[in-house]
């Protein structure tokens, strides 16, 4: 049984189909990059994974649980913008990852202190402990996205969804964010879905690269058909296939 199962998912807005017959299975700990042209349903697919929208047909299950009706703590998300709360300082943004699940969205007493300590540990890990008391608006774009990722992870989700998380960053910051994300992932082994416009980014970070495109195209009515997963690349080992021996071969391997 795979960790994330997308079964025969269709999504249409009114009469206009967006996604058709999407079938994907993902194992625990895989990093899935999702690429494709504008308007080919990558973001729709992410919203479906997020349970922000319900598919018109088909189902998405995570870890064998029943399909979610609305976004919940099993899915963490980072958008291109607006992923942190501007009225809370950096530490409180991380604490929110634990506190928001409580009935009034706050922690009190020793629980609160413990959460703040865990938040400080998280800030240490994402390299933001020196700005713990600052408001997000004073941070650079890269720092804000690091904070958003840290906040999402503080809630301990099953899968992490990234919607063009580095799209608004300059190239240098983007590269350092790649290192940051790979390092973080090496530590916690999270299952990640990342939508990106940047092919090289998708191949660099992902274990698999899903390409969304329209397999059928009616030139007189471009909206007649929806998109689906047209390629499913193995992007491990720099995209060179068959580098990982999957089965036990009983021959000596180089160490």
């Amino acid at each position: 049984m795979s960790f994330v199962e997308v079964e025969n998912v269709f999504q249409s807005y009114g009469a206009r189909p967006i996604l058709e017959r999407v079938n994907v299975t993902v194992n625990r700990g895989e990093f899935i990059s999702i690429v494709g042209a504008s308007g080919c349903g990558k973001s729709t697919f992410l919203r479906l994974l997020l349970a922000q929208e319900q598919p018109t047909r088909g189902s998405i299950t995570i870890d064998g649980r029943p399909p979610a009706q609305e976004p919940d703590r099993t899915r963490g998300v980072v958008f291109q913008r607006y992923s942190v709360f501007p009225h809370m300082n950096v530490r409180d943004n991380i604490v929110a990852g634990e506190a928001f699940a409580r009935s009034f969205g706050r922690l009190f007493g020793s629980e609160r202190r413990a959460a703040q300590e865990r938040a400080d540990a998280m800030l240490e890990r994402i390299g933001l402990n020196h700005v713990a008391d600052a408001y997000p608006a004073t941070l650079s774009g890269g720092m804000q996205q690091r904070l958003a990722i840290g906040q999402a992870l503080a809630a301990k989700p099953l899968i992490l969804l990234l919607d063009e998380p580095f799209g608004a960053l300059d190239p240098g910051t983007r590269l350092s964010m790649h290192d940051f994300l790979m390092h973080l992932r090496g530590e916690i082994g999270m299952t990640v879905f990342m939508v990106t416009h940047d092919l090289s980014e998708g191949f660099k970070l992902g274990d698999r690269v899903l390409v969304f495109d329209k397999p059928r195209w009616d030139p007189t009515d471009p909206d007649a058909y929806g998109a689906t997963v047209t390629y499913d690349f193995d992007a491990r080992n720099r995209g060179i296939p068959f580098q990982t021996i999957m089965e036990e071969t009983h021959v000596l391997r180089p160490v």
Binding site: F85, A96, F104, Y135, A152
Partner: protein, 270 residues
């Protein structure tokens, strides 16, 4: 250089700020001078000296009948009504603004209704308010509430709906319930707008207050103005007008200062 690119130096700016005030004063002075020359007992445009004398006596000489200084009594009565009215309107506006902004069902039920309500001229309801709530304090406070609440509800619900969907979804993925989203995401971001909306609605609030006091009251700034109007006591009226202007300015300044202290995150530039 284009005019839009020319900026005054700090000294010139300070001077330019004072120019319209000085000009208004001079125009009044000249007009008053002309009228007083034609008729020294003219009451329409009293000289600034007369106004000052009146102001001093208003502030120091107690009323012969009651022994109290009416000026402070009027100020106290008006400010009480104003703060009650604006406070109630702000509370109602905040609650309904948040409900309409956050909950689609409430929005579907109320947003058109509030839009229609806001078109009713509040002053046209004044007779009904006097009949329903009597001539006491309640009707005046209710007039202010009716006058500015629809605006506050619409402004605040609009602000709540401006909160990016991403931020709400993010809160959902952190496990926040609707209540938590309201209290921890929407409310803190709406409060600065509430202060701003109150500042904007203080003008109408004063208007409704003075209108209500003018028609039925036994003290209050608006009441006094419309009482002494019968004796053409322009010196008293002008003193009260200047005082009201000053009060309005101080309240506005205080609200601005409170907002700056209470919401430091709105001050930081991105």
């Amino acid at each position: 250089m284009r005019l839009i690119n020319r900026t005054p130096s700090p000294a010139l700016r300070a001077f330019l700020v004072l120019v319209p005030f000085a000009l208004a004063f001079v125009v009044y002075l000249v007009a008053s001078e002309i009228r007083l020359e034609a008729n020294p007992s003219d009451r329409l445009l009293p000289s600034p000296g007369t106004i000052l004398d009146t102001a001093v006596s208003l502030l120091t000489v107690p009323d012969r009948r009651s022994g109290a200084i009416l000026f402070w009594g009027d100020t106290w009565a008006s400010l009480t009504r104003l703060s009650l009215g604006v406070g109630l309107a702000a509370a109602i506006g905040l609650v309904f603004g948040m409900l309409i902004g956050l909950l689609p069902h409430v929005r579907a039920t109320l947003s058109i209704f509030v839009g229609v309500l806001s078109l009713i001229p509040p002053l046209a309801l004044l007779p009904i308010l006097f009949i329903t709530f009597g001539l006491g304090e309640v009707s005046k406070v209710v007039l202010i509430v009716i006058g500015i609440t629809p605006f506050l509800i619409r402004d605040l619900s609009g602000r709540v709906m401006e909160i990016p969907r991403e931020m709400i979804v993010k809160a959902e993925t952190l496990g926040a319930s609707s209540l938590v989203i309201a209290l921890r995401v929407a409310l803190p971001q709406v409060l600065p707008r509430l202060v701003q909306a109150i500042r904007l609605s203080l003008g109408p609030a004063w208007l409704f207050l003075i209108a209500a006091e003018a028609i039925a009251a036994n003290q209050g700034l608006g009441y006094r103005i419309f009482l002494v109007r019968r004796y053409l006591a322009m010196d008293v009226i002008l003193t009260y007008v200047l005082w009201i202007t000053f009060l309005a300015w101080v309240i506005d300044w205080l609200l601005k200062a409170v907002a700056r202290r209470a919401f430091p995150w709105t001050e930081v530039s991105p």
